[in-house]
């Protein structure tokens, strides 16, 4: 009876050390809703107890049912037949169970049937589910389209869409990408127009739409004829009906359970979400925080699953008269995997809490504004948290997705030839991991998104403070390594800025972002190490490895090889 929440000691550690006070305080607003809903918490401790109990349900369903079905879901995949999409049998069963457990509206308001949980807890659920079946996360995670409707839609629109998503009757899709608008969403063409009564309609094609067969769709469309950039785009919501044709589904490397659809909208009636022209610049920008955190959590879930399989196999497999677990090279690989996972988890939930508090502050400011009360204090906080979220979200997505690929790859390697065979799960994890550094913004785009804040050194005060702190538990020597990494970072940053070459800055951004990441995660792990002796090993290995990598990053910034770009045609011819 594996429970993917309770059996994960590191996740337990993270959960037990969460401080969600401010988040819960805003979300529960004096615990008013306890008067109307018998499942609403009566105080902070009760809320935490609720989160724990519900994550136990998620862990139970994931470990005992979803994981059991994952291989057959992968084998069977979603199927397209006669214009319709059919989930794999296991996927359908999974979705039914998740809906029965009330988990399809985790962070949505209670009045629409949701649980009103903090985003952070919902991210934990995503990680747990992804460990069991990465492809299920895509459908589970699309409950987020209701979050966009909740934040920016009218009351009528909320009533129209959110309750059925919470109950699991409807699943969602986020239709942004088009054949000529992938990373560059400003190029979206799908046409939105109004009839004389003001009713909106959608016409055009969307591609690579995860769960495009879902019943509730959020669609980015060009509502302003003649425009060519992001300012001509608006966000729409519509129900699936006969005007929407699924033209095909993709035959993919991994996440087979998740149907990836090409959709054709033939004058589909739609509702405008929020204000015209704000589709990309405001609403997509906002939903990307959640979408990217979701993918980061998915990547971590896959990494955890891959590591568990590798560990199990290494203990069982005997070569040269002993379990390969005891062969130093393998042991070392396993430790690397484990340390990466724990470092990644620290980063993920630190970032999730920032996004969480950002959302809650936005909510609070909205309420204060409506009540005509002052909100300048909250606004200052929000600006700060927004900056941090803007940096940490792409950082987490980049680091965790790349790391999941490496971990899944190493997990397969530990299996040897066996891992290459379909009978074992290792190859599935590798295939599933491969999408995480592509969708919801490629790794290269995450670096672009994070780099501005790195070049502005936005965490400078924060690191100053950390350097001055007296650490307990014998981790003090590690601080000096982090100080050294920071020196390297500052030196590299100066080098890049002084070069005043935008093209060089773009190329160097990867190394700069990574350097900044070591510092941020390094200090997170030091905090953890103060609380738990075992974590000293984790912090030690992470920081020492990071120091070595930092030197490589610096070398790669300064080695001058960038100039090769000038000779690209020659080299590539």
């Amino acid at each position: 009876m594996p429970n993917y929440f309770t059996d994960n000691s590191d996740m337990q550690f993270v959960f037990n050390n969460l401080d969600l006070r401010e988040i819960v305080e805003i979300a529960e607003d004096n615990f008013e809703e306890a008067k109307h809903y018998n499942y609403a918490p009566i105080d902070y401790n009760d809320a935490i107890e609720n989160y724990r109990k519900v994550l136990e349900i998620v862990g139970d369903i994931a470990g005992n049912f979803i994981a059991e079905r994952a291989s057959s879901v992968d084998e069977e995949g979603a199927v397209y037949k006669d214009g319709k999409v059919y989930y794999a049998k296991g996927t359908a069963e999974n979705l039914k169970q998740i809906a029965q457990a009330d988990l399809m509206g985790m962070s949505l308001p209670r009045k629409y049937g949701g649980l009103n949980f903090p985003f952070t807890i919902y991210v934990m659920a995503i990680e747990i589910i992804s460990r069991a079946d990465a492809s299920l996360m895509n459908i589970f995670g699309l409950q987020d389209i209701a979050d966009t409707i909740n934040k920016f839609g009218t009351d009528e629109l909320r009533e129209e869409f959110i309750p059925k998503i919470c109950s699991g009757e409807h699943t969602g899709a986020m239709a942004l990408t088009e054949p000529d608008a992938g990373s560059d969403l400003q190029a979206v063409k799908l046409h939105a127009y109004q009839d004389e009564k003001g009713q909106w309609y959608l016409k055009g094609v969307k591609r690579f739409i995860t769960n495009g067969n879902g019943e509730a769709l959020l669609v980015l469309a060009r509502s302003e004829p003649g425009t060519k950039d992001g300012r001509g785009l608006s966000m729409f919501a519509c129900h699936r009906d006969d005007t929407i044709k699924v033209r095909r589904i993709e035959n993919k490397l991994g996440i087979h359970g998740s149907p990836t659809c090409e959709l054709q909208f033939n004058d589909t009636p739609a509702y405008l979400v929020g204000q015209r022209k704000f589709g990309l610049i405001k609403y997509v920008f906002d939903l990307m925080f959640r979408a990217r955190m979701g993918v980061a959590a998915q990547a971590l879930g896959i990494a955890q699953a891959a590591y568990e399989e590798a560990l199990k196999y290494a203990k069982e497999r005997e070569q040269f008269g002993r379990a390969i677990y005891n062969i130093p090279v393998i042991t070392n690989m396993l430790i690397d995997m484990r340390v990466a996972i724990e470092a990644n988890r620290a980063l993920l939930y630190a970032a999730a809490q920032k996004v969480d508090i950002k959302e809650k502050l936005e909510e609070k400011i909205k309420k204060l504004k409506e009540a005509g009360k002052p909100f300048s204090e909250e606004n200052i906080r929000l600006k700060r948290v927004m900056k941090e979220s803007n940096f940490l979200t792409p950082l987490a997505k980049y680091i965790l997705a790349e790391s999941a690929n490496k971990i899944a790859n190493d997990a397969l390697q530990i299996h040897g030839g066996t891992g290459y065979m379909r009978e074992f799960k290792a190859e599935r994890f590798l295939r599933d991991a491969r999408i995480t550094n592509i969708y919801e913004g490629t790794s290269q785009l995450q670096i672009v998104a994070a780099s501005g804040n790195v070049i502005n050194d936005i965490l400078s005060d924060y690191f100053d403070e950390k350097e001055k702190k007296q650490y307990k538990g014998g981790v003090a020597p590690l601080v000096s390594h982090l100080i050294e990494i920071r020196e390297i970072f500052k030196d590299c940053l100066k080098y890049v800025v002084e070069k005043k070459d935008p093209a060089f800055q773009d190329v160097a951004a990867k190394d700069l972002v990574e350097l900044y990441g070591y510092l941020y995660v390094g200090y997170l792990l030091l905090e953890q190490a103060e609380k738990d002796q075992k974590k000293v090993f984790v912090a030690n290995r992470y920081i020492l490895t990071s120091l070595a990598n930092a030197r490589k990053n610096a070398e790669s910034i300064k080695d001058g090889l960038f100039n090769d770009i000038l000779h690209a045609d020659k080299i590539l011819s």
Binding site: E49, A101, D102
Partner: protein
Amino acid sequence: MYNSIVMVKQVPDTANISGKVMKDDGTVNRAKLPAIFNHEDKVALELALQVKERYGGKVTAITMGPPRASDILRECLYMGADEAYLISDRKFAGADTLATSYVLSEAIKKIGDYHFVFAGRQAIDGDTAQVGPQTAEKLNIPQITYTEEIIEVSDNKIKAKRKIDGGYEVVESTLPVLLTVLKDVVSPRPFSAKRVMAYKNAKSLIDLEKLTEENSLLYIDKLVHEYEERGLFIKTLTMDDLQLDEQRCGIKGSPTKVYKVESVVLGGTDHIRIEPTKNGIGELIDKLMKDHIFG
């Protein structure tokens, strides 16, 4: 609208035995085993909840057991039961199937207003499969054992499929009726997050009495009232509440005496080849007789 009462049992987790669970005398050391919800009873509850979804009505879960059995009653509430009863008394201890079915049938009479009584076919600790049928007899109602599917309920009648050797049969019965169900017929639903949050603090009378023992500032009546108000009270029935004949309860009311429990470990390591001849078969039969497997 059809009301169901579901008999559930907390059992030692015999599937997860590790280390010193067996005592030296070969009996089970229950304190060392985690206590779980008997799976077939969970299936029975699922079936009852499906009846409620199809036809409306109320689902009541009952269990006879020690105070900690309220754990599985909370789980029943998490799955969707409307009400739960703990039937508990020191004098119920040591009950065999006869004494158990006596207590349960009296509790069911007391609760009343039911159309169905559901139970798992058997519990994994005793594996007798007797409590369901005996309870039906004592309630003087028909029973459908080994139920696989409820086909239809209408006009105060039920049509159901029951498993028999090599197939199934479709039977009909008047209501009320007792059904025992098999483990694979439906998959029990997961706990509902909302119900877990709502009922995580549900407590039985005995749980509350314990609280008052630990904290002298609390008064039991007030506490019960408060828990009732919040819908968190697990009703509790004792021997006195049910006005039972003490001689028929617990160890006193249990004619079954366990003579000896033996842990049999099959020690065979080799295959024995038997020639397919009359002589070969004869030798095999002789061997089986000698080992007391036959005869």
